[in-house]
Amino acid sequence: MERSELIKKRAFPGRYESLAAIRDFVVQAAREVGFSEEDVYRVELSVDEACANIIEHAYGGEDKGDIQCWIAIEAEGIRIRLQDFGRPFDPSKVSQPRLKVPIEKVKTRGVGFFLMNKLMDEVRYSSSLRGGNVMEMYKRR
């Protein structure tokens, strides 16, 4: 891990109502880094998708556990780590969304992870030794 200028940490209840507060927390940090508003939105969307995945897939529903959000504001960008204590869930194992198919065949499963990978410079998943999952993402300024 690079030497960080500032670290912010907060835990949020794992429910969909928390998504707005998690996004606000991350958006504020992204603005402190000095990202353009377009990049702030990209970070905001990536984190929302990751957290919605945690609630839906790792916890299998709302109010099963917290989402710990750790942000490092670095000189060159922002590093975000999201940790849950649910069942192992590796989003990269979810099949890629099928694009360019007739609308009746469009499925949105996997779209969240697909977006994260497109919008962030790095996305890494690992299962935690203490149980649960860790998703780490990085975006350069």
Partner: protein, 111 residues
Amino acid sequence: MDVIVTQYKRCDVVKAAGRVDSYTSPDLEKAFGEIIGAGRYKIVFDMQNVDFISSKGLWVLIDAQKKCRRYKRGEVVLANIHPEIRESLNLVGLSNYFKIYDDLTAAVGSF
């Protein structure tokens, strides 16, 4: 999230304000569901005041589009999309499934 539906002679306009995510998307789903349930399938989604939309919200739009286009009875068109939202629609290829208008008058006039 505030969702206002206005019924016009040739179409319905759904105007939402705020952020569409996993928590708020049921409000949008309900609005589309009521219009479609009433047998009206020509819908403009005015996104002027939509600041954020996650994949959950995109799914609501795709689901509504599937229902409206069935039997060629209508469709959902989008108006006033913020550029950031347009980028995510493009990235996942969903912009191919919607006509997108720069303003509401053009969107309503398309029906």
